[in-house]
């Protein structure tokens, strides 16, 4: 069923993506919506947390959440959304320099964040990076290359489902992509720069902890694994270590 849904959403070429934009600054939100519409998106605008949560229930391709919102702040909305929906990508809009909010957001399952005030072009780039990753891979290879095995982890790249020790592993889009990248070249170092560029579609910034937070989320989710562990190579990056069964 998930497959059918997926195909209906993404499979049709040139779909107009539907974004939910939640920001209490009405003027800014309207300007942003206008810009994004100009780039070919369908945008639904809401201005507080409760409305955002309500609107997220109907199908959206991506949710863009401001953290500071009346009634229910962005983090609470995100938490509520993630309880029933881990697939829909979420970008958080955070006050610049507010690392705590940013990290909390990522820990709660946001896919990326955008510091405010944001350059709309940068926001557009991040939206596109996440949507591009969500696109199905080459349609032709439906067989072996769609499956990725690493230790007791099994990833189906076609329907983007993962399982650990035959138990379904619930991952956000971004976590899925990072894990896929690590698992493809297991036991080799993947630099943070590579991860940032491949996954988030941008160069690694000086204070950008996004990758680290995603990795720490993944570690938590992989903690049941007997064979897999994500190791930190300090100052460089990460590698997925597979313990061979003796």
């Amino acid at each position: 069923m998930a497959d059918a849904l997926f195909d209906r959403l993404i499979g049709v070429p040139m779909t107009q993506h539907h974004l939910l934009l939640a920001d209490d600054d009405t003027v800014l939100a309207e300007l942003l919506a206008e810009y994004l519409q100009g780039e070919g998106f369908k945008v639904t605008l809401v201005h507080n947390g409760e409305d955002a949560l309500a609107a997220s229930k109907s199908l959206k391709d991506m949710i863009i959440l401001d953290i500071m919102m009346p009634k229910m702040d962005g983090l609470e909305v995100l938490k509520a959304i993630r309880q029933h929906d881990t697939d829909t990508p979420v970008i958080m809009l955070t006050a610049r320099g507010d690392d705590i909010d940013r990290i909390l957001g990522l820990e709660l399952g946001a896919d990326d964040y955008m510091p405010k005030p944001c350059n709309p072009r940068e926001l557009l780039a991040r939206i596109k990076a996440i949507l591009r990753r969500a696109q199905p891979h080459e349609k032709v290879s439906h067989t072996l290359s769609d499956q990725l095995m690493a230790g007791d982890l099994h990833m189906n790249l076609h329907n983007r489902q993962a399982s650990l020790k035959d138990q379904a592993l619930v991952l956000t889009q971004t976590e899925f992509d990072i894990l896929q990248l690590l698992a493809k070249s297991a036991d080799t170092l993947i630099t943070k720069q590579t991860l940032s560029e491949e996954i988030l579609g941008r160069k690694l910034g000086a204070y950008d902890r996004s990758i680290d937070v995603h990795i720490s989320n993944l570690r938590r989710k992989l903690s049941d694994s007997d064979l897999l562990s994500i190791q930190t190579v300090r100052g460089s990056g990460y590698l997925l270590k597979i313990q061979r069964m003796s």
């Binding site: 100009g38 320099g97 690392d99 405010k116 005030p117 709309p120 000086a206």
Partner: protein, 455 residues
Amino acid sequence: MTRLFLKIVGLLLLANFLVVAGGYGLIKWLEREQLLISPHQAPQILAEHVLDAWESGDIHHYAHTLGEHGTAFALLDEDREPLFVMPALRRFLKKRPALLPPPVPRHHQRGHDHKHRMIKRAQFTITISNTHGDLFYVITRSRHPLHSLLPQPTWRRYVPWVAVALTMILASSLISFYITRPIRSLRHTTQSFGQWDLSARVEPKVAERQDAIGELGRDFNRMAQRLDDTLRSQHQLLRDISHELRSPLARIQVASTLAEQKAGASSELQRIDLETQRLDSLIEAILRLTRLNDMPDLVFESLDMTHLIQEVARDARYEYQNTDKKIALDLGMIPNISADYEHLSSALENIVRNAMYYTSDASTVHISAHATDTRLEISVTDAGPGVPEEDLQRLFEPFFRSDTSRNEKTGSNGVGLAITHRIIELHAGQVAARNAKAGGLIITIHLPLLRKGNE
């Protein structure tokens, strides 16, 4: 103040009392246990030994031993008939029977005996009774003080001195502990406060004392609270201002992008974009500096500095790859240091970026790093115009501009070096600037090295 004064007086009195009472008690105890023999006890003890020797039949041997030390004794029974007389006393006993004490009532107990004074040089007559209640007289005469002749190891002589010294040390430690403990606690608090732990307060045990030290503690706490509040509200104000500035800034940014989307790019729109970005990065830098001042969140770990410097240099090379400005590294053997990776690398990056900007075309920026026993020295030397001597000191102040020509095109916001300064300070290091003899600016960072075994 008087309270503390009285406390110290009281303590000193107490300590002196302890020394005297302790010493006295100790000596009394030692004497009772016969570990120590005082002159006035010696004849008594000697008499007991004589009696014991008589009763155990060992008297000849004992007499011989004492005789060698120049001591003579005679043992008489109740009726003053000699039981044993050493030769040296025979004549004396015959001549002077009158010297002998009068008979003593029979109920007299051992240990409570009468002593009879001597004629010149240590002659004693001791009345003593054995366990059956029989009475004896012991006459002793010696050429030396008796107590030195009794079997007594030499160390016992020093016991009183050692005892007094020990009690004195104990008493002085008590005083000094009582006075220094709260001062140490105060010092600990002021140090933490000095290192930007603004929540540091004097512990209640000290602050609640009803004396001068307690007052000092309470004064400090009040001052700390006021400073903390001030800094907090200042920080809050800066946060609020920048937040308020950002909303319109964000709208301008989106509006200009929207205008470009609709009407196509123009140099005016590009200018608006550029200036809003500068304003934005300026606000960010101010926020960073405020945060570094108010609530630094550094994560210290053991860092490979060679790697960090190489990374910063690589980034700078990448940025300037299309120019003929070069970077040269001269790195010695550098042990790991305890530092925050992100912060320290951005601190160094600010300096290197500055140097790259000001160094003249076709010149080289030199980065060198060498370690001594205790610290690491990193210096960045450019081949630029340098900075007027009088401005060197102020280079690390926020928004300080040495001369106007230095900033127009830079896009640097005037806060970078202040941030660097603060970060190095948080690493317990120093950063300083000086002009090179050959022209150009040298910025030097000193960082303390990890102690051995800490890595």
